[in-house]
């Protein structure tokens, strides 16, 4: 493994600022990323699901919550903190693209 992952680090490695920065980036990615991805997924699906808009909103909100535990787990399992952040940013941009292209329903 090129970058030792958070919990597998040995005791001595846990003291340094590198370890702290690693955890901090992952934690921020987990907290803000979860909300960003859930909000964008709800918004993108609400505009694209092929059903009346009130139905699309209900279903998209339900589905968005299923993602809640996925993003934090990814944030701490990814090979490195920057890769964790990049993954979440990429997914967010993709979802924002769908939301933007779809436009508000008639």
């Amino acid at each position: 493994m090129p970058v030792p992952r958070a919990a597998s680090d040995s005791k001595s490695q846990r003291q340094g600022w590198r370890y702290r920065a690693n955890i901090a980036i992952r934690a921020v990615t987990a907290c803000l990323g979860t909300y960003a991805v859930a909000a964008l997924l709800a918004a993108a699906l609400a505009r694209t699901l092929p059903m009346p808009r009130v139905e699309a909103v209900s279903l998209s909100t339900l589905l968005a919550f299923l993602l809640a535990p996925v993003v934090p787990i990814w944030a701490f399992l990814a090979a490195g903190p920057w890769r964790a952040l990049a993954g979440v940013v990429a997914l967010s941009l993709l979802l924002y693209g769908v939301f933007w292209v779809a436009g508000p329903p008639a």
Binding site: M1, R5, A6, A7, S8, T34, A38, A39, L40, A42, A43, A44, L45, A46, R47, M51, P52, R53, V54, E55, A56, V57, S58, L59, S60, T61, L62, A64, F65, L66, A68, P69, P72, I73, F76, L77, A78, A79, F99, P104, P105
Partner: protein, 495 residues
């Protein structure tokens, strides 16, 4: 990912520990209050032993409407829950001159009952609002539920032998025993824990995740409400005074349109105004889904404005998920299973919080941060149940008829919990645990003896209090009596 499987488990165990700790105390309060809320109507009956009058639900609601019309001023609305076979009062939430009140109304006189109390409504509100102002309490509760979902999933992934641990419990072994207990409690009702956490997250969606609504409706939130519940007429007050038409004919008409099914709730918006609207909702006690049907009437004339029976698939799915959390559909046996599942989840959280400390203390002396966490554990895990018992005792002790009686009960509960937090912070844990647990047990005992027996609900309630008192007595006994033949290190760890 380049990780070997053991690495994944280690990371998950680490994440499980930290997410569990992050909002563990908030989750403990939410789970305890939610568990008690399963018996919200029954707690209400226990706290209003004098309210035994019964009346036809439609007559009762109509009488309550007359009392509210005479006793509320500058009101934006009344929200009434009809009496059924679990409650003998009308639960009313209403705005009176800018203050929002929760009261139980007598089904015969329509007036607020003499022993004014929020009853089970206190635990219900505490469960998802945490006694914080709107919308912050609900936001915090949503956040806690999301963290809880992560803690559950990471806990499952970190778990090596989920089936074997089901049957493993090694007593008197410090950290090992706490871990076994935590695992057994968590695994035993795991499907319930996952269901209740996910559905709980859903119930607060309108506060926590409004972005789907925003994307489809933008600023026009009123359109969204109109499409979600087409049977609820949307109307602003006109400012012209007009008396409210009699409620009974509207309620009878609604019930006829529900095919004879009972009425669940009645909302009266802008009563006394010519723009008043009366919305009547079918009871959801016989179906899992929430809001199965509704009818609205013009409040001033009694003419029907709108009607709707819900059968759209996505909304019905949403309402079913919501209804699963509320558990109002549940017959007696299911209700007890909800209660047991909730109790186990509460204990899983408590044992997890204790485990955090026990694990660290067995390896090295506790750091300052962990000593603070240890004392917070005492204050919350032992103090919040004490506050709940204080709420029940205040109900018996406070004189009837004093102003703001229901609110005083809540204040006593909160101040007791606050005092317990201080005691937990100031006293050494080996004294604070048995002291607070002992007081809680004694409080349960006194509460059980505080009312003459009468009626199934009161008898069962008192029995539950006696069982709880015995459980706390056993806990105190374990903490105070050192067991023989226990090595010194373990005895210290278990203290």
């Amino acid at each position: 990912m380049s990780a070997v499987r053991d690495g994944v488990r280690q990371v998950m165990a680490w994440l499980h520990g930290w997410t569990g700790l992050l909002l563990g105390w908030v989750l403990f309060v939410m789970c305890l209050a939610g568990t008690l809320s399963v018996f919200k109507p029954e707690i209400g009956q226990w706290m209003r032993p004098e309210a035994t009058a019964k009346a036809d639900p439609v007559e009762a609601l109509a009488t309550a409407g007359r009392w509210l019309a005479a006793n509320t001023k500058d009101t934006t609305g009344w929200y009434l829950t009809a009496p059924d076979d679990r409650t003998n009062t009308i639960e009313a939430a209403y705005d009176s001159g800018g203050t929002f009140l929760y009261r139980a109304l007598d089904p015969v006189s329509g007036a607020s009952v003499a022993r004014e109390t929020m009853g089970g409504e206190f635990f219900y509100r505490l469960h998802f609002e945490l006694e914080l102002p709107y919308p912050w309490g609900r936001m915090l509760a949503s956040l806690a539920a999301a963290v809880m979902l992560t803690a559950l999933i990471t806990g499952i992934i970190a778990h090596r032998r989920i089936f074997r641990d089901y049957f493993t419990f090694r007593t008197g072994k410090g950290q090992r025993s706490w871990l076994d207990g935590h695992n057994a409690l968590g695994v035993l009702a795991l499907p319930f824990h996952l269901m209740i956490t996910f559905t709980g997250l859903i119930t607060l969606a309108s506060v926590s995740l409004p972005w789907g609504v925003d994307a489809a409706y933008g600023e026009n939130v009123a359109a969204m409400y109109a499409e979600i519940a087409p049977g609820v007429a949307q109307r602003a007050p006109t400012g012209t005074k007009a008396p409210l038409a009699p409620l009974a004919p509207m309620l009878h008409e609604a019930q006829r349109r529900f095919g004879g099914a009972p009425i669940g709730r009645v909302y009266v918006l802008n009563p006394g105004d010519s723009g008043a609207v009366v919305s009547v909702f079918r009871a959801d006690a016989s179906v899992v889904g929430y809001m199965p049907a509704e009818v609205s009437f013009d409040g001033a004339t009694g003419r029907m404005l709108a009607e709707w029976t819900e059968n759209r698939p996505a909304i019905q799915t949403y309402n079913t998920v919501y209804g699963l959390h509320m558990g109002r559909f549940a017959p007696a046996l299911t209700r007890w299973l909800y209660f047991l599942g909730g109790a186990m989840l509460t204990l899983t959280i408590a044992s997890g919080l204790v485990l955090w400390i026990v694990k660290r203390r067995e390896r090295a002396p506790l750091s300052l941060a962990n000593r603070i966490l240890e004392r917070l554990n005492v204050g919350v895990i032992a103090g919040v149940p004490l506050g709940c018992v204080a709420f029940l005792l205040a109900n018996r002790v406070l004189p009837l008829g004093i102003a703001g009686r229901a609110e005083a009960e809540v204040s006593i509960a909160l101040w007791t919990a606050a005092a317990a937090l201080v005691a937990g912070a100031v006293l050494p844990p080996r004294l604070a645990w048995p002291l607070l647990f002992g007081l809680t047990g004694a409080g349960c005992l006194v509460a059980a003896l505080s009312v003459p027996l009468g009626g199934t609900v009161l008898i069962l309630g008192n029995l539950m209090l006696l069982v709880t008192a015995a459980a706390f007595a056993a806990l105190v006994g374990r903490q105070l009596l050192p067991r023989r033949a226990t090595p010194v290190r373990r005895a210290r760890a278990a203290a």
